[in-house]
């Protein structure tokens, strides 16, 4: 499942153009890599997701470094962050905040919940009830929350990095498609390769690796990056290719349903950011192909699918069967 991602890692290096943007990304990736060894490509993709202004869903088995990645990212980007551990008895109010009667002033005062942060780490999101999940997801979509009739804006930028265990583990509430769609990307980290594993084992086990991650980007830089990436050029030849990809998902019988317009928009946005991260002002097919698995895997489902994990195979078909030229 990860072989493709590892292949693409090599591509990424070869199509790099040295300039301030690619350098910036390079530095950040190196910084986050201190905490998570041998996962440059996944780190790059998560950065791409955040630079695109989208929310990230990390999905893997327990102990693969999901939480570590989230923390490291938050620290490297210098964001104000908070972590919510989702459990089955968590209530919406625990996330959004609650109004408490203040006896001294004789008024209700609002105590904001952990969601009022620039970066929210929603740990094990599929362990909580759908009710609580939807409270979070609504906030993600609208960038605002309504508590007791009053609408409050969330800080800007606002990112959610959610992690979840594969849904077939016990005691989970799988996210429905409509909510999965809200995440720009879904990433899997996978086992570290041999070299990284060895390095990990050789390291000082006492030290907290996340602690060593330094802030290397200013908030302003993140916002700039986001603005700049919107200006990346997508030629008609490239748009043709993207349209063919989308049409393929909609016309072939193996696909339970095709890619939604939100999905195709997400794909374009991520591809543009990726192009900029490589230092280019135009999108090439490789950009689309690199972000494609992360962006669309969780939005696709095969006809014969039961647990929602056949997207990867479908993406492989998309990559190999849709040609870049007509």
């Amino acid at each position: 499942m990860f072989s493709l991602n590892l292949d693409k890692q090599q591509d990424t290096r070869t199509q790099l153009v040295e300039n301030q943007y690619s350098e910036m990304v390079q530095v950040t990736v190196a910084e986050v890599s201190k905490a998570l060894l041998g996962k440059e490509h996944q780190i790059r993709l998560s950065l791409c997701c955040l630079f695109s202004g989208g929310h990230l869903l990390l999905e893997d088995l327990p102990g693969m470094g999901k939480t570590t990645l989230s923390y490291a990212l938050a620290k490297a980007l210098g964001m104000q962050y908070n972590r919510i551990q989702f459990t089955s008895d968590l209530l919406p109010a625990d996330i959004l905040g609650i109004s408490i009667y203040d006896q001294s002033s004789g008024q209700f005062s609002f105590h904001p919940g952990p969601i009022f942060n620039q970066l929210v780490l929603a740990d094990e999101i599929n362990r909580t009830t759908p009710k609580t999940q939807s409270a979070l997801l609504e906030a993600m979509e609208e960038h605002q929350v309504t508590v007791e009739g009053e609408t409050r804006r969330l800080p800007d930028p606002f990112f959610v990095i959610a992690t979840q265990n594969p849904v077939n583990l016990a005691g989970t509430y799988p996210l429905p498609e409509s909510q999965l769609d809200r995440f720009l990307m879904r990433l899997r980290l996978g086992y570290p390769d041999q070299r990284a594993e060895r390095e990990l084992l050789e390291m000082d086990t006492e030290r907290d690796k996340v602690e060593s991650v330094q802030q290397c980007l200013q908030l302003q830089q993140v916002t700039d990056f986001r603005k700049r990436s919107a200006q990346v050029k997508a030629s008609s030849a490239l748009l043709d290719y993207v349209q063919r990809l989308i049409a393929f998902t909609r016309s072939h019988e193996e696909f339970h349903f095709g890619l939604s317009p939100r999905g195709s928009l997400a794909l374009m946005r991520a591809a543009k950011t990726w192009a900029l991260m490589c230092g280019r002002d135009h999108v090439v097919p490789e950009d689309v192909q690199t972000v494609l698995p992360a962006v669309v895997e969780h939005r696709l489902r095969a006809m014969s699918d039961e647990d929602g994990h056949t997207g990867a195979a479908l993406v492989q078909r998309l990559l190999s069967e849709v040609d870049i030229i007509d």
């Binding site: 070869t14 090439v284 007509d326």
Partner: protein, 678 residues
């Protein structure tokens, strides 16, 4: 089967259009009720599509099948087993299939049947017009097939139609080649034509009324082209068919009925003693006749015709026969000596046959003849006196003669005096024989219409005519046409002029020769159409084994078995080679974008060293893969990839310039690769 499958609207429309188109030629020659059933089924299918009607239930379908079988069986009993009844059965099955056409498979069946119906049309006629029509039908069928396989959103009706036209045009060269070289295999089975409907034209017996029936038909009998020199005068165009010698008081026949020997003798080839019996003056007249199928063996020609086509036979009465029935259009060459005398000495047996009359009957006529003969000196004068009798008394030329009583000759001669040519010929011959002068009736055609566009004559069924030949001492057989005495314009100008007032003339035809004769351009159109048919028949339909052989001989010299085998083998391997090439090469990606086209060329170049671009592979990934496999190509691949990305994805300001650069680079790469590939 997917119950909810709906045949696409465009496909359904085209399928129904194709069905209607291919059915029209069939329906035109079938009983009306079949056409009505056909229309009902088409309308039913449209209503099913609109959701106003449902598919027929199981019981209805079973009932329909049983009814069809019963009807067809009765049809077969009534009109006999043959093409017509089989075509009717096919047609019924075909239209009934429409109303149970639900799934794609059913549409395939209907489409295949459409092609079969096209072929059935060709069994009846292979004229140029019908060929054109069937071609348009085939285009409609192709369009329906295309519409069936393309989704609605993908295409418009018009583009389906153009694609079908394109396919048809692409098939044209192959069609021509197959037409020219495909072996003409004799049919493995023959289709029996219905005996009652198949035979057309004059028959070997003549009862008054027969030819008048032909006078109502404007079907073509044959076409004639004279070689060199002007064609003869209209009055001289007596197309001799059969000589009828035996009269039983009502009907003229070629032979005494039931005489197998006489039948055989008359069909025998008497060409051998031709020279002794014939005296000719002047040069011969050469001409070619293309006879429409008659299902009869006899042919037509001017008197005195000598066959030029070797397969023909000639009887002792100088009739011409084909070896076998004329069941398809037949072209034959004749040479006629119009200035001739035959049988100056009449054999006794021939004289007996030419003076035979029933023992009794028509006594008044016999008495009239004897009395008239007494009043003149010679047989010749007698004949002219009889003609004068027809001329001077109120005899009329009409297609609608009144019914005659038992004593037919008497009745006609003294009472009704209204008749068509056969009445006059029959009566005249009777009057001759009554006084012992040898005489016989000849049936055939007279006249014809000249087509100036291709310089040939058209002879129609309404040109059917009967006249007499009388043997006179010292002159041999002399042609007498008693009709000319009654209606001179019949002979001088033509039957059209003589009968232009007669309402029943050609009443069975719509586009008859003279219905629109008065309208100038209509007539021109008709003549042009016929000229087209004539050329079509001469050049295409008549292309048979012999002509094929001639063509081979002209192209490859002497035709030997080896050469034919070599040619066929060569053709077959050429086809296989082309197919193999297409299959091995795969579908070439022909892109409309010039940039993509040259980029595809790069992939083809690198394919030679085993590094084609794979489907879905981006330019950078491709470059990296090629460079990894062939590090020496790093520099040109890098440049080409950069150029391609700039052209295609960066959209440089001067694409033409960059494209030129790309092509130059590509050429250099090719030059670099050429030692590698060799």
């Amino acid at each position: 089967m997917d119950i909810s499958y709906q045949i696409p609207r465009a496909a359904l429309i085209w399928v129904l259009a194709a069905v209607v188109l291919v059915s029209i030629p069939q329906a035109a020659r079938m009983p009306l009720w079949i056409a009505i059933i056909g229309i009902t089924c088409v309308v039913w299918r449209v209503l099913i599509f609109l959701g106003k009607f449902d598919y027929p239930g199981r019981w209805l379908r079973t009932a329909v099948v049983i009814c069809t079988l019963i009807i067809t069986l009765t049809q077969m009993r009534n009109i006999g087993l043959g093409l017509d009844s089989a075509a009717a059965l096919l047609m019924l099955g075909f239209v009934f299939k429409l109303i149970e056409m639900r799934s794609k498979r059913d549409v395939y069946v209907v489409v295949s049947l459409c092609f079969v119906m096209c072929m059935v049309s060709f069994l009846y006629t292979q004229s140029a017009v019908i060929t054109l029509y069937i071609t348009s039908c085939v285009i409609a069928i192709l369009t329906s097939m295309i519409a069936l396989h393309r989704s609605q959103a993908e295409t418009s009706t018009r583009s389906n139609f153009w694609l079908a036209c394109k396919l048809g045009l692409q098939a044209l060269p192959l069609t021509v080649v197959l037409f020219l070289v495909f072996p003409r295999i004799a049919p493995l089975w023959s289709v029996p034509f219905q005996s009652n409907s198949g035979e057309t034209g004059v028959s070997n017996e003549m009862t008054p009324g027969d030819l008048a029936l032909l006078g109502r038909s404007s079907e073509l009998a044959f076409r004639v082209q004279f070689e060199g020199g002007p064609s003869p005068m209209h009055a001289a165009l007596y197309w001799r068919g059969l000589v009828l010698e035996h009269f039983d008081g009502e009907t003229w026949r070629r032979t005494r009925p039931g005489s197998a020997y006489a039948e055989a003798a008359q069909r025998a080839d008497f060409n051998l003693d031709w020279e002794d019996r014939v005296r000719t003056q002047g040069g011969p007249l050469n001409y070619n006749i293309i006879l429409e199928p008659t299902q009869q063996p006899w042919l037509f020609g001017l008197h005195l015709a000598q066959r030029q086509t070797s397969s023909l036979l000639q009887s002792r009465n100088f009739e011409i026969f084909n070896n076998g029935l004329v069941n398809k259009r037949l072209s034959y060459d004749l040479q006629s000596y119009t200035n001739n005398q035959t049988d100056l000495i009449l054999l006794d047996s021939a004289r007996r046959r030419a003076t035979q009359l029933p023992e009794e009957g028509n006594e008044a006529s016999r008495a009239f003849a004897a009395q008239l003969r007494q009043s003149v000196n010679s047989d010749r004068d007698y004949a002219f006196t009889v003609l004068g009798h027809f001329q001077q008394n109120p005899f009329f030329y009409t297609l609608n003669p009144p019914l005659l009583g038992d004593q037919r000759i008497d009745d006609f001669l003294f009472n009704t005096r209204n008749g068509f040519c056969e009445h006059y010929a029959s009566t005249f011959a009777f009057l001759m024989r009554a006084v012992g002068i040898p005489a016989r009736v000849v049936v055939g055609y007279h006249g014809g219409e000249y087509n100036r566009f291709e310089d040939y004559m058209m002879v129609y069924q309404y040109n059917a005519h009967a006249w007499t030949e009388v043997w006179l001492e010292g002159e041999g057989w002399v042609r007498f046409d008693p009709t000319a005495a009654v209606s001179p314009e019949r002979v001088e100008i033509g039957v059209e002029a003589a009968l232009s007032e007669d309402p029943s003339f050609m009443e069975e035809s719509f586009f008859g020769a003279n219905r629109f004769g008065g309208v100038g351009w209509m007539n021109t159109l008709r003549l042009r159409l016929d000229a087209l048919e004539y050329e079509w028949n001469r050049r295409v339909v008549s292309y048979d084994e012999t002509e094929q052989y001639d063509l081979f001989a002209r192209l490859f010299g002497q035709v030997t078995d080896q050469k034919i085998l070599l040619l066929l083998g060569g053709l077959a391997s050429a086809v296989v080679a082309v197919l193999a090439f297409i299959v091995i090469r795969g579908t070439p990606t022909k892109s409309s974008d010039p940039v993509n086209r040259v980029y595809a060329r790069l992939s083809r170049e690198l394919d030679k060293i085993g590094l084609p671009r794979q489907s879905g592979e981006g330019p950078y990934s491709y470059r990296d893969r090629v460079v990894a496999a062939r590090p020496e190509l790093k520099e040109p691949m890098g440049t080409l990839t950069e150029l391609y990305v700039e052209l295609s994805y960066r959209q440089y300001d001067e694409p033409a310039d960059k494209l030129r650069q790309f092509k130059k680079q590509l050429l250099q790469l090719r030059l670099r690769l050429s030692p590698l590939t060799r």
